[in-house]
Symmetry: C2
Subunit: 175 residues, 2 copies
């Protein structure tokens, strides 16, 4: 069992890399966030280069993605020409930002396309046969599922206001 801090930190960063990769982000993104998250003070680009082993270019672009989804914030110090980066610690805020960002994503375009398909099918329901009806039913069922998931997404956002303990209580109702 390892008990020296640097090794522990390194393991943690490694875990975040894995998680990042699992969700389809570059593992470097997870590493950058991990390093920043464990740093008591904001870090410069060069410090990130040193601590993650990535090159300046990679850090530059990935840190921008992280900032775009709100997981990292960029700041500057007066009389210092470096940029400094620090991790968002309010994950609910970050999630809210990610979901907002997602509005324009390929994912949402696809979801919207399913919804449109459903409209077309509904519009033509009267003047078409059982095959059409079958397709309508299936697409509708999927759409309802998407809506349910979406409600849960909204719930995640609301968690922020409630706090974890209250959520546990509410979820208890579901038992």
């Amino acid at each position: 069992m390892t008990t020296d801090l640097p090794t522990i930190q390194q393991n943690f960063v490694e875990s975040l890399s894995q998680i990042s990769r699992f969700w389809g982000f570059p593992k470097g993104m997870g590493a950058i966030f991990g390093v920043l998250y464990l740093s008591p003070a904001p870090l410069s680009l060069d410090e990130l280069v040193e601590q993650t082993g990535l090159t300046k270019g990679a850090i530059s672009t990935e840190v921008r993605s992280l900032a775009r989804i709100g997981l990292v914030h960029r700041s500057t110090k007066l009389g210092d020409r470096k940029d400094y980066y620090e991790a968002e610690t309010d994950f609910y805020a970050a999630i809210r930002s990610i979901l907002k960002e997602r509005q324009n994503s390929e994912f949402d375009r696809a979801i919207r396309s399913v919804r449109e398909t459903l409209s077309i099918l509904e519009a033509g329901a009267g003047s078409n046969g059982p095959e059409w009806q079958f397709t309508l039913e299936r697409v509708r069922a999927l759409q309802e599922f998407f809506d349910a998931i979406d409600s849960l997404n909204n719930a995640v956002i609301k968690l922020e206001k409630l706090g974890f303990v209250n959520v546990q209580r509410i979820l208890g109702v579901l038992k």
Copy 2:
């Protein structure tokens, strides 16, 4: 606006491919599921080859992945040597199965690793300085967030029993 059924179906399958890709699965997987989902009867491997444009090999392996996560079921007919595949229509059942499957995944290994890190940090909290303490706080906060998300996953599973309408009502409480 397109209103012939084959085109509508094709669009739908295309959308599912996109969604599949977005979640880090091969887009072929989404296409296979889409075709099966819109088919009133189970389809054979050769029919899937025809309708998706993929090769036998690809279908063979991807349909196995889909079966493993419970989104597709394989069946046979007496006196027919083909396998037939059909889509799971109970998405909640599928999600339950996916979450179960996830237990062994890279993702969960990483999550567990964070939890172990937290234990080590907690164990050493008494005999270490403020740096250690800082790391402990941060890792703990992340762990709590993971736990909250996990509660929501469980909630998704429970949705099945409640139905969509009730869920909407419960989520209303959160407003």
